[in-house]
Subunit: 292 residues, 4 copies
């Protein structure tokens, strides 16, 4: 299975505050018909930080049942504690995940020196039954893992890739150049998907792919055929919506936009909120502009 292409960090649907299994399944039925190469379950956009252990397990079960073996199934398993991360990673491995996305632990920011982070990833990689991908997301963690450190970690055979959501294309470019051949570098910001491909990214794990999967997939297809103009033009069309459902309106905005686009979004968990009517109108316009 080649680690590449477009994957959505899938949202976790709730109804009456509970995990809505049926809604998740129906989303998968729609996503599975698209050109998405796979899925990330329990990522940031999956509100993993708001789920308890049981809910996490359930979300993984449903996903495993719903995702065909032809598509990649990644699961977010990073915790603050190294041991807990290992435990949960092996649990989802047993449940059939193809790979685990491990976020940089970050609560004790001042103590999370590069060597500490490196030791954490090495320990997880050593003990994990499945390959792991590093998840670098400074806007959430307040920590950035420098390209030199990612490159060193890429030497470990069980560290198979990285999702970099810094939005920093210079950094992404260095990661790609410095890390071992075959190391899968995914960009995590849809607004720079096209330039990320230009500098050699394997693909994108993109929030907006939850509701506009084909638009994202098409950018990469055009790029692969050398159709740079078309790829760039699509990127320009995608960017406003991509920003709205992440930086500007967060997961509440993402879920609302999913509802507008024919998927089930629903409400995020508190303290997050569903955006108000005015924002709904704005999201509608952005969707119309993209989908015509």
């Amino acid at each position: 299975m080649k680690l590449s292409g477009v994957m959505p960090p899938i949202t976790t649907p709730f109804q009456d505050g509970k995990l809505a299994s049926d809604k998740l399944k129906s989303n998968f039925r729609k996503w599975n018909k698209t050109g998405l190469s796979g899925y990330l379950v329990l990522g940031s956009n999956g509100e993993a930080v708001y789920l308890n252990e049981k809910e996490k397990i359930r979300a993984v079960e449903i996903s495993r049942e719903s995702i065909p073996t032809s598509k990649i199934m990644l699961v977010g398993t990073g915790m603050e504690s190294t041991e807990e991360t290992i435990r949960f990673t092996n649990q989802v491995a047993k449940m059939g995940a193809d790979g685990a996305l491990v976020v940089t632990p970050s609560y004790f920011k001042g103590s999370m020196k590069p060597q500490i982070l490196s030791d954490h990833f090495m320990a997880v990689a050593e003990s994990s039954r499945i390959g792991i991908l590093i998840y670098n997301v400074p806007q959430y963690t307040g920590i950035n893992l420098e390209p030199e450190w990612v490159a060193k970690l890429s030497e470990h055979p069980n560290i198979i890739g990285v999702k970099d959501s810094s939005g920093n294309i210079g950094q992404l470019s260095e990661v790609i150049h410095l890390s071992r051949k075959g190391f899968a570098v995914f960009v995590g910001s849809a607004g720079v998907f096209f330039p990320a491909l230009c500098v050699g990214a394997a693909g994108g794990i993109l929030a907006v792919a939850n509701l506009a999967p084909q638009e994202c997939v098409r950018i990469q297809r055009h790029f692969n055929k050398g159709e740079m103009r078309s790829a760039r033009a699509l990127q320009i069309q995608l960017t406003p919506l991509a920003k709205a459902v992440t930086a500007t309106y967060g997961i509440g905005g993402l879920k609302l936009a999913m509802d507008l686009a024919g998927y089930f979004g629903g409400d995020p968990r508190a303290p997050l909120k569903r955006p108000d009517r005015k924002i709904e109108e704005e999201l509608k316009k952005l969707l119309l502009r993209l989908k015509g």
Copy 2:
């Protein structure tokens, strides 16, 4: 019970990677003989982010057994999710906690606008059986709750205080001035304990009080008697050690210094590490200078 004085955010002792109940009890026996006014269980320095639910419950049980009713027992109960925070707060309330410290949720930093945070605290306050204190710790969360917002929240009868670990005395001063009478403002940075008292803080929740409780207590006693010079002189003596066991060497340094001072510190959980021999020597010197 008056919310004031010096409280340590107690560390959680581990042996062979497991919660060491006996060690925690023996620490309490020593602390209970000092002038500490109370304790914070499951705070940041308690490595709450590295404990599973069972371990948290066990730490609270042991603490409840060990803390005399004459001293305050606060428990850190803040989670990312509002609902989980309420659930756990009421669980520790049933177990006998006097109050709950609720950290600002912070993973989705961009979405944690003041109103969202305010709604979170209000919801927890409404549903909690015990009083709650707001925990503002920007160096861990990347989020600062402005004085105006803390002041508004202080109007709720069940929001009884705040622990501000920003180290910002101007902010602390405004919080104290703007919030309702009787609202308990604790400083969370030992390096500014004396100036915090000068601007009206009720007390301090101070990591270094884990190993130097009397030194902290004496600063406040001198201050209360109007002995400003003595208070300031003690502060100057305390500051280097206080910085070493927090900002500089983190929880690993704090636990090591506890071992050196006759308490049980032990190792922190990975990815945190016990500092090396060189740092141990430095901590010894700092302790000698203070306790010498």
Copy 3:
């Protein structure tokens, strides 16, 4: 002459866009009747960055004529270039300045390592005919000079003090404790003037002292007499106005408030602007609340 007390970083008055000598003189006549210990000419609030060399010289001349020898006259002389800083410092020395305030050079932030900054201050101190004070103002320069470095610099006999505008009382406290006896540490943020005095500051160089000199002076007088409650109460009254004329509305707000308080403020230079009517009303209220 003892370096202590309250000094305003005086504003530079303009009329029809030109330096208004008469207005500056009349401001001095009023200030001289107060308990201010001295003045800082060509500080940040003097819009030094908007003045050409001629205007700077003229402002120094007028100030020298207007300031009695019983009061301290400091002049801001820091430039990006070491050589230019030395040249201008000696020029104002010849014109009768008592001391020079030298800001950390900051344009090339990434290159301004502590050793580079230290060499800069040492070079200026070596060549200057008058004593120099270090000016640490991270909110303008993006650079903070750590207490250890200030302390080292304090060993030079011609580096006689520091103005720290970081607002960080812990840092101020360390600077005071670590630097040589007699080194004059001024706080540059009126909102923390009282706690700064508590930790041992020699005085304050405070923007709000341009329009409320006596209120600032009284805080220090109460403090000196051990009247902590009165000092703190005055501080609480001063803080809202102090914040408004610096952080919130900048120099435009400061000058407008001076006009309202009976001094000549006038307009700042573009791109700065005089605040609008609504802000004027707010400033009026803050003044009324302070001055009764």
Copy 4:
């Protein structure tokens, strides 16, 4: 004259601390033989902040004499004051500059709201005899001008372009898309030159082009011919040196590398320093790797 291609922000050579006219001329003789489209005089890398007015004028004179009319001559003219910026812009216009690069004023960071910055640029554009380019360089100024504001400013016929040195390709992409057709968007970070071209940049104003002009020019030529692989391969080769002569070793490193590459670099002005021998060896290796 088309605003595009590669331009170095030329360094200002000093000998015995004085502006070295001959050295500047000899540098130009070498640069003029390359494919550079033009030059930026008195940019950040020209140490403009360390030059007095006379030296600035002299640097512009020499440049005007040395630059053929077939190449673009831009001059950095931004000052903190709007009026001074206008004055100096028109002075260099009279001296024959083709355009002026105007940096965001930044000393009073808190007051430099987007509207204030916008008014500044509009005022300069209105009064300038030559076209102006906005210079956005957050790493020096601490201020970032958002794409929406740059786009609005691009509507003014005399605001002809922007140099964005944020290194943020997503931002660059939005600026390009949102601003009016024909608005010249230059990237200011050599490490992302290739991806900048991918998203539509007109060219680059690149420090490393002072010593490796042809390598930079070739990246754009390959790109223009659709030879993406070659362009990307050259970018990868260029990046390490590009980082070394900017972020890592600053202008001291840039000038030293120029000396090593056959140009005159010389020493920067204090407080900047020439790097030591060890760094010289590192720069030699980086040069060898690039130039073979």
